[in-house]
């Protein structure tokens, strides 16, 4: 089941497209592999989903923040953010406080428990990232980062 190299018996056609060489596919696949690997860590350790992890990471990064800002910062649709916030609130990892001068807005902060979890998550993330870079090698990791940067700067939006 190692896939790309597990080529079927029939021979490829000349003017066919090789999926395994198609850049968008390769990028999607690579991201998926990394994402899953890392997700396993925080899921097993803290029972978080991907949107919840991103939300928590964003709240921890800015001590006080609104839902809209979380979405903007973490590239998530507002419904995802809304549901993640509720889930985190239900666990008492965060609190909301309605802004008194503009009551549409809620300011979100970590609770004591939330801060504790966040600190652990940060260590987990840094460790995973370090291990990843080590696995890829300085060169490979550097190239990957440069390539991503190109996408970030040359292609603005989702």
């Amino acid at each position: 089941m190692t896939l790309a190299q597990r080529s079927p018996t029939e021979k490829p056609d000349t003017d066919a497209l090789a999926l395994e060489g198609f850049l968008p596919y390769r990028l999607a696949r690579a991201a998926e592999i990394i994402s899953r690997q890392f997700a396993t860590l925080y899921r097993e350790r803290h029972g978080l989903t991907r949107p919840e992890w991103r939300t928590l990471a964003t709240i921890g990064q800015f001590k006080r923040i609104t839902a809209t800002e979380i979405g903007a910062h973490s590239s998530m649709h507002k419904t995802k953010v809304s549901r993640a916030i509720r889930a985190l609130e239900d666990r008492n990892w965060i609190t909301r406080e309605i802004d008194q001068t503009d009551r549409r807005i809620e300011h979100i902060e970590l609770t004591r428990e939330g801060r504790s979890r966040y600190r652990d998550l940060v260590v987990l993330a840094r460790t995973y990232e370090a291990r990843l870079i080590d696995t890829l090698g300085e060169t490979g990791a550097g190239q990957l980062e440069a390539g991503i940067s190109a996408i970030e700067t040359r292609i603005g939006e989702a």
Copy 2:
């Protein structure tokens, strides 16, 4: 809504993690952007979903193939493949033929219509990829590819 640079008012904490600098996040985001861009093309033009596109691309690449092989080649769960195959069959883009020596296996091929669609999809894909590489620049694209290769070779599976 350009996000990463749309930083909230509060200042980051020193021992917080900067999500926008976290490699797994950046990779996931980059892949998402590209994936969505490309998906818009084949969705608008042929009404295909992402699993359907991958499935069709794989069938077209190998003229005759089984469902399991499709999954292995395109990194998709077998249920995704199963459902994509059914959808494509319903549109008469593919046919199934049960192997007579092992009746568990179905051999899948494109119909005339399917081949026509596939040819168009290949052009679409090549064009998009070329445009993407052009946008990223030879250097950026090369680095991205090298980085992805590092992941592919150093980290085997999903």
